[in-house]
């Protein structure tokens, strides 16, 4: 009897042991009852990904440095920044689904960061949830929402899970957040029961989800490739062929190959034309291409326009032992920050920060060049050439909507990656002339003043009232005000930077009504240039290019064709131009501007720093005096050479800000005289 009892007890114990779930099993059994952002995710340095984020295809070790948690092991499921930081471990992303247990690493196949403050990230995994609550094809969010794959692909007539490889939410952020909150409430089961529900919600919230799938779907003539960019509303936004220039054999059946679409990111705008929005698209493929333009399956590509970032540059800040690790998920800050957020928007006049290399960088991120390229934000590297900024630099943006006591634009050297405490750096000082009501003249006259203090702080109430007009200005408005105008050339002592040709980073700081200091999340890189070009030599020769016509010298009679040689330089050279004047009646010939990037024969001996080889006197171009017609007679002639740089320069008198970029005030000038006769 006792043996029987002992045996039964053993059986019960054994059964108990077998039935005690392992930690993983506990995780599987849990339902995501707590839909709030997990503490684990709140503790991660997600802000490091404000500029952009990605995941790799494979795990690796950092060989130098370490991420926030001190573990140099980087998983292909972690969300990584462009600055060598792990913004979120895979476990943190999944934590809302694994309350109380450590989640398994399920990889990270797609990501879209939606809200930094609330840590709202949409993503997809590489592996299915062990408990079957979601698959690797489902769209997940860190608020606990699960949108099953079948709901995404239902509008295409697909009724099974074809995987999920890339995602991008489209539309207004508030609506996207509301939608995801609603999706969490509906739950996966709700969408499985009624997959059509999703498309109704997307219409209701006026948003969309762009995505790509893992597999290929064919039904009769219709085919969906894993390289196509799809809309969850049931349209193909861009076929695989559309994504590439014609030289890439992308697309089936016509060009012949499906290159896949492994990651995608871009503007969220649903108000712009889709063609325009696609120009902002960045993506990566599943397979490499050896032709022209060649790319790997880890490079970030531009829509129809080659490589935006090489994979090696993405991963370099992590110091991996290999220079390629693939790319599985990608998110970029493509749209400029929303206007309701306090931040700088423009520098050097009304030039968007998005068009500067390093226009939006994290405070501890390398600064880029700080140079402006027209349309950089749309199509890096932008329309040539690059431009620094000089003289007076107008800087503008958005202040907090309310509760701001004072503000300033602060700066420090671009190479300084140590982030100073708010209020500790130097501020830009600006003295304004204000329109004030003059009762005797019965008009607004620029007779008032509004100045920052010695640390660049501007009283916000005074500024806002002056700008809009109020009692202090006699209701005269001052719409010319900017957040700051930087006297970069140090015309007024103490108003400019230490180095008038230096590279700096700027940011907006403000103090709220509670005396708490704040700063915007980004720095903005700017390269200054207040140095004019130098012309070291100018000479004219006969048509043979070797016989000089010295200054005041006379060319042999009958010589009409001459060649111009010169040596000039500038750190940010742009172009040259010359006149030949003289004859009787007086006439002139004009040649140029010949800008170094324009591809014409007249610029072959110049580059972005002037004549080449550097320090050499080289042929610029020839000219023919017979082009003067009857004015070409035996006479003296003068050749005026002008050389200008690329710097964007504004003038500022405390009231008027004028863009004088390219004005002759900053040209280098040289001339030579000679005599010639037909």
């Amino acid at each position: 009897m006792s043996r029987l009892i002992t045996s039964l007890l053993l059986l019960v114990l054994l059964g108990g042991v077998l039935l005690v779930p392992s930690p993983q099993m506990v995780g599987m059994a849990q339902e995501s009852e707590t839909p709030t952002t997990s503490e684990a995710l709140m503790a991660t340095p997600l802000d490091a990904c404000r500029r952009g984020a990605f995941s790799t295809e494979e795990d690796f070790m950092m060989t130098k440095g370490e991420p926030f948690d001190g573990n140099p092991y980087i998983s292909d499921g972690d969300l990584l920044s462009f600055t060598g930081q792990v913004c979120a471990r895979n476990a943190s992303l999944l934590s809302v689904f694994y309350v109380g247990v450590v989640p398994p690493d399920l990889g990270l196949d797609a990501a879209d960061i939606l809200d930094f403050s609330d840590r709202l990230i949409a993503f997809a995994t590489e592996l299915d949830d062990p408990a079957g609550r979601f698959t690797a094809g489902d769209l997940l969010a860190t608020n606990g929402a699960i949108i099953p794959n079948v709901a995404l692909v239902k509008p295409f007539g697909i009724n099974y899970d074809v995987g999920l490889d890339a995602i991008q939410f489209m539309g207004d952020m508030r609506s996207i957040i509301n939608f995801l909150n609603e999706a969490r409430t509906i739950g996966r089961a709700g969408y499985i029961r009624n997959p059509e529900l999703l498309i109704g919600q997307l219409r209701q919230w006026n948003i969309d989800i762009w995505f790509s799938v893992e597999g290929t779907y064919r039904a009769g003539e219709r085919s969906i490739l894993d390289g196509d960019l799809l809309s969850a509303r049931g349209t193909v936004i861009a076929t695989n062929a559309d994504l590439f220039p014609n030289s890439v054999p992308a697309g089936i059946p016509n060009r012949g190959v499906d290159f896949g679409l492994d990651a995608v990111t871009g503007s969220r705008s649903l108000t712009r034309d889709v063609k325009d929005v696609l120009k902002d698209l960045r993506f990566s493929t599943e397979i490499l291409f050896n032709g022209e333009p060649g790319f790997t399956d880890g490079d970030v590509l531009r829509y129809q326009d080659g490589i935006a970032f090489h994979n090696r540059d993405l991963i370099a800040p992590f110091y991996p032992a290999a220079d390629f690790l693939g790319l599985d998920a990608l998110w970029l800050q493509v749209d400029v920050p929303p206007t309701q957020s306090p931040n700088l928007q423009t520098m050097c006049g009304n030039r968007s920060l998005g068009d500067f290399w390093g226009g939006y960088i994290l405070p501890d991120e390398a600064a880029g060049s700080g140079l402006y390229n027209q349309n950089l934000a749309v199509s890096p590297p932008g329309s040539p050439p690059r431009q620094p900024c000089g003289e007076y630099v107008p800087i503008d943006g958005f202040l907090p909507a309310a509760n701001v006591k004072r503000f300033r634009v602060a700066f420090r050297p671009a190479a300084d990656l140590t982030v100073p405490a708010v209020g500790a750096a130097t501020g830009i000082r600006t003295n304004w002339l204000l329109n004030i009501w003059d009762s005797s003249a019965a008009t607004c006259l620029p007779t008032g003043n509004l100045n920052t203090d010695a640390n660049g702080w501007m009283n916000a109430a005074d500024y806002l009232e002056a700008k809009a007009g109020g009692p202090s200005t006699g209701w005269c408005s001052n719409s010319h005000l900017r957040l700051a105008v930087w006297d970069s050339a140090n015309h007024a002592a103490g108003f400019g930077p230490p180095d008038a040709n230096g590279h700096y980073r700027l940011w907006l700081e403000w103090e709220d009504a509670g005396a708490v200091l704040h700063r915007e999340p980004f720095d903005h890189s700017i390269q200054l240039d207040n140095k004019n070009p130098t012309i070291s030599e100018l000479k004219v020769t006969l048509a043979d290019g070797t016989t000089p016509v010295p200054a005041c010298g006379k060319a042999p009679k009958g010589s009409s064709v001459f060649k111009v040689y010169a040596r000039f330089a500038d750190d940010y050279y742009w172009g040259y131009h010359f006149y030949v004047r003289g004859g009787n009646p007086p006439a002139s010939l004009s040649f140029g501007w010949h800008n170094y990037y324009d591809g014409t024969p007249e610029v072959v001996n110049t580059d972005d720093t002037g004549t080449i080889p550097d320090g050499s006197t080289v042929l610029l171009r020839s000219f023919d005096l017979t082009a003067m017609g009857s004015s070409f007679v035996d006479c003296c002639y003068v050749l005026d050479l002008h050389v200008r740089d690329a710097s964007i320069r504004h003038t500022f008198n405390g009231y008027t800000i004028n863009d004088g970029t390219g004005a002759d005030s900053w040209w280098a000038y040289s001339f030579i005289t000679f005599a010639a006769a037909p």
């Binding site: 599987m28 398994p104 299915d128 099974y160 899970d161 397979i287 290999a322």
Partner: protein, 337 residues
């Protein structure tokens, strides 16, 4: 001389007869014969610019089983016929066990639309489903599906066939219920399954399993780790050398000779020796076959399409095959048929 002519005639006549028969029947009899020595799948779909496949469709799916000389040995839906799945689910791993029985072990890229298998399960053309959990049981993994990226059965073909027959009878549900029985069956049949997974797994208080490691389902051990598959100059292996290159496809002789393992990685390497993620590599270093040569017979518009699944026979005699067939096969290959 006369004797030699007699031998040639003895070989050539049946060969020609067989050729004629095959031509007359098209390739409907058993297209898998073209993959007797070698087979693979690509990572992406493409249109062949070469000769049309027997079914007349120039579209080659990343789920199709391809052979040398622009052969489509099995379309994805042929592989999945036993499961009555008509959708293309991709092809992530393959081992051709018995050509004559058309017995192929494989895994897909996507889960079954009917929920009867996952992309991490091992399937056979005869309808067996061995769930991922059963493969990983020996490593202490419970309840997780870590994916399946490469497979290679080790052992006698007859024994492997018998194992897979038994697996079909066992059924997926039974394996899910008792995942440990698969390892027992492997031992009973004196075979092993080498495989690689898609994810990584930290064995509690043990090693970390990388998706670049080759694993034994029978023994729950590493067959070879990614660090040992690649030469020392490649920074492969975590944590020592620093990078997991992944193992996307694998093939080895059935006798388990590790020195002859052939494989492809998940990511390329630009150092020395450089390789890309579609090249077939030799264990310890060197490229057995560049990716471009794999697909060249199909004359695709791009010379790289990746390699997702790989099978090689390593010259191992396949049982039940008449001895003159290899010669006929080579003759057919010479003639480009």
């Amino acid at each position: 001389m006369r004797k030699r002519l007699m031998i040639v005639a003895m070989v050539a006549v049946p060969a020609i007869l067989l050729l004629i028969t095959n031509l007359a029947l098209g390739q409907s009899a058993n297209t898998l014969t073209a993959c007797r020595d070698f087979a693979f799948s690509t990572e992406e779909d493409f249109i062949t610019q070469g000769p049309l496949p027997p079914d007349g469709d120039p579209l080659i799916s990343d789920g199709d089983l391809l052979g040398p000389n622009h052969t489509v040995c099995m379309r994805n839906n042929q592989l999945l016929r036993a499961f009555q799945v008509s959708n293309d689910l991709g092809l992530d791993a393959v081992d051709i066990v018995d050509v004559d029985r058309e017995l192929v072990a494989f895994s897909t890229e996507l889960n079954s639309p009917f929920g009867n298998f996952s992309a991490g399960d091992l399937l056979t053309t005869q309808g067996a489903v061995i769930p991922n959990q059963a493969l990983m049981f020996g490593f202490g993994v419970r309840g997780l599906d870590l994916g399946l990226d490469g497979i290679q059965f080790i052992g006698n073909v007859r024994d492997i066939s018998a194992l897979l027959d038994e697996a079909r009878t066992t059924g997926r549900a039974r394996y899910v219920e008792a995942p440990g029985i698969f390892a027992q069956q492997l031992r009973q049949h004196n075979v092993d399954l080498w495989f690689t997974i898609e994810g990584t797994y930290q064995i509690p208080e043990g090693a970390k399993i990388l998706d670049g490691d080759l694993l034994s389902a029978r023994d729950g051990l590493f067959v070879i780790r990614i660090a040992n598959l690649l030469p020392n100059s490649v920074p492969a292996g975590i944590p020592q050398r620093g990078v997991d290159f992944g193992l996307d496809a694998v093939a080895a002789p059935r006798n388990g000779d590790r020195a002859q393992i052939r494989f492809s990685t998940e990511i390329l390497y630009t150092g020395e020796p450089a390789f890309n993620d579609g090249d077939i590599l030799k264990q310890g270093g060197g490229i057995e076959m560049p990716a471009r040569d794999l697909v060249a017979p199909f004359e695709p518009r791009a010379d790289f399409l990746g390699t997702d699944a790989l099978y090689m026979s390593f010259g191992t005699p396949i049982q039940g095959r008449p001895s003159f067939l290899p010669l006929i096969y080579r003759l057919r290959r010479l003639l480009g048929l």
